[in-house]
């Protein structure tokens, strides 16, 4: 089972700042453990994809990402989802505060 | 008056400041042996006791006497004391050894960079001890200097009683050859310390 995620989305200077935390081992090929890392991250604003990312095992364990979205209003729905190389996934949704 | 004080201490032992002996007893109760770290390690020797009691500021006379005692523990090898600085650098970088997590008998390090600057190429160095960058270049590498460096690494307390530096030879942490290699690191003109 995928570990917890946490997200904060706040209005700052007319834009929306998003910070998201993910629980994931992000093991590398060099570690001697089975390769296990997040490959895709998607950010949606009110159901529409605004950021689509591909990442590698070089992203640190328990990934932390910050994004900025244009404008935004209190209550806007932000969703961040990840998918890893083993097909495991998780997502979190929050309203802009 | 003295009796009254003693009585008070008896009634309110909680308010008295524990002596090093009291603390040792607490540790004997609350600590346990693990791996190579046996319970004999919580028992203080005379120097540890004096340094604890005086918060590392022993009276000069006493310090001089005890330092002389410590000097007797240093076994200086014959001949040149300058070993291989390349091995010395690895020993200086290595911070392992003597812990309950370290396998007994595994090669131990000197933890030198934890507290000292040595090779100026290494930017991750500690400052608890003085910088030793350029040590040999400044002080030369003659027999007296070799002896001083060897002795200081073997038993730092022979030179400064309450020094924070471990007695790396006396405690069995480093071998004679390892200490020679460290002497090489500090004194060899080819060592990065002296570049």
């Amino acid at each position: 089972m995928a570990g917890p995620m946490k997200m904060r989305a706040t209005l700052a200077g007319g834009n929306t700042e998003v910070r998201v935390l993910m629980t994931h081992p992000m093991t590398t090929a060099q570690s001697g453990q089975p390769l296990h890392f997040i490959q895709n991250v998607t950010v949606k604003l009110n159901g529409r994809a605004v950021i689509e990312a591909e990442v590698s095992q070089a992203v640190s364990r328990n990934p932390v990402f910050s994004f900025r979205l244009k404008g935004g209003a209190k209550g806007d729905k932000i969703e961040v989802a990840w998918l890893d190389n083993k097909g495991e996934s998780n997502k979190i949704e929050t309203a802009v505060a | 008056m003295k009796l009254l004080l003693l009585l008070l201490v008896q009634i309110f032992p909680a308010l008295a400041q524990p002596t090093p002996k009291d603390v040792e007893k607490v540790m004997q109760r609350d600590f346990h042996a693990r791996g190579q770290a046996g319970m004999e390690r919580v028992v203080q020797d005379g120097i540890q006791r004096v340094c604890t009691e005086t918060h590392d500021r022993p009276p000069a006379e006493l310090a001089k006497r005890l330092e002389a005692d410590q000097m007797k523990t240093v076994a200086f090898p014959q001949g040149s004391l300058i070993g291989d600085w390349k091995r010395g650098e690895r020993i200086a970088q290595n911070g392992r050894g003597m812990q309950w997590t370290d396998a007994p008998g595994a090669p131990t390090g000197g933890s030198c960079y934890n507290c000292h600057q040595l090779s100026p190429k290494e930017i991750s160095f500690g400052t608890i001890g003085p910088s030793l960058a350029g040590f040999g270049a400044k002080r030369g590498s003659g027999p007296d200097m070799q002896r001083y460096v060897y002795g200081k690494i073997y038993n730092a307390k022979a030179y400064s009683l309450c020094s924070q530096m471990p007695r790396l030879g006396y405690s069995g942490t480093l071998t004679e050859q390892q200490i020679k290699d460290l002497v090489g690191l500090l004194l060899d003109p080819a060592s990065p310390v002296n570049q």
Binding site: Q30 | Q17, Q48, Q93, S124, T127
Partner: protein, 266 residues
């Protein structure tokens, strides 16, 4: 971090260019600042909350009724008032010691079982670590005010202070060997002098914490344990009077600071 990766880092000495000490200090501070802006510590709080509410042990009870000093189940501000004297146990307890007490009393678990794995790792954090993250977080914004009035609280302070100066072991170390003089560091790590309120305050306000180098969560009991390991001493028992006394001494020295943790450590 993996061993191979660590080995690569250790070989760095051969390649790292020299740099001025002041630049190094400034850049390391900047590094820490940037890392602390997004701390995975919060992930451990989420785990801790679930554990706090999970029925466990022979009594199949949750810890929700655990009295951390402000009454059964009161979490808000409880960490900021620890360590303190607890009448029911007739001793001073820090957070972890108290949690262990609740595991044995409320949940009916044996001390052996509950302390079998108090320090975890990144792959599997310990129950104690996640719970510490959760409970400590409920004191954010509150002033640290450990108990200081009970005679046993005073005695713990004095014992903690004495332990801080106690030199022993094959390397003759006391806490003061590393944490005794201001402005000193081990490698690049600056060492707070925990005898001084101005040094202890920020420490007390940020523990327990996420540890960057291991991606795990670390607690004050772990800090004491790991310091004694590095001091080449035998192991202090988890939740023992000696460890609680040291934690109490440090917390009292740093009292008054507003709690802002769980923080980030190297």
């Amino acid at each position: 971090m993996t061993r191979a990766f660590a080995a690569i880092l250790i070989t760095c000495f051969g390649f790292c260019a020299p740099a001025r000490a002041q630049d190094v200090k400034t850049e390391i501070e900047r590094y820490r600042q940037m890392v602390s802006e997004g701390s995975p510590a919060e992930l451990f709080e989420v785990e801790g909350e679930a554990l706090w509410k999970k029925p466990q042990g022979p009594k199949q009870a949750a810890l929700e009724k655990c009295d951390l000093g402000l009454g059964p189940g009161v979490l808000k501000g409880a960490y900021a008032a620890l360590p303190r004297y607890f009448k029911d146990a007739d001793r001073v307890m820090d957070l972890e010691t108290r949690l262990l007490h609740c595991m044995t009393t409320l949940q009916g678990r044996s001390r052996e079982e509950a302390t079998q794995r108090v320090f975890g790792n990144a792959d599997r954090p310990s129950e104690m670590e996640s719970l510490s993250a959760y409970v400590a977080a409920q004191s954010r914004g509150m002033k640290m005010a450990p108990g200081e009035s009970h005679p046993k609280e005073k005695a713990a302070y004095e014992l903690g202070r004495a332990l801080y100066f106690q030199r022993a072991g094959p390397w003759d170390f006391a806490c003061t060997s590393c944490h005794g003089e201001e402005g000193k560091r081990i490698r690049l790590q600056e060492l707070p002098v925990l005898l001084k309120p101005e040094n202890a305050r920020s420490v007390v306000a940020t523990w327990p914490a996420y540890r960057i180098s291991t991606s795990g969560f670390i607690t004050m009991q772990w800090r004491m344990n790991n310091c004694y390991q590095q001091m080449r001493m035998p192991e202090p028992a988890f939740g023992s009077d000696a460890t609680v006394a040291l934690i109490h001494f440090i917390t009292v020295t740093g009292k008054g600071e507003v709690y802002s943790g769980p923080g980030n450590k190297r």
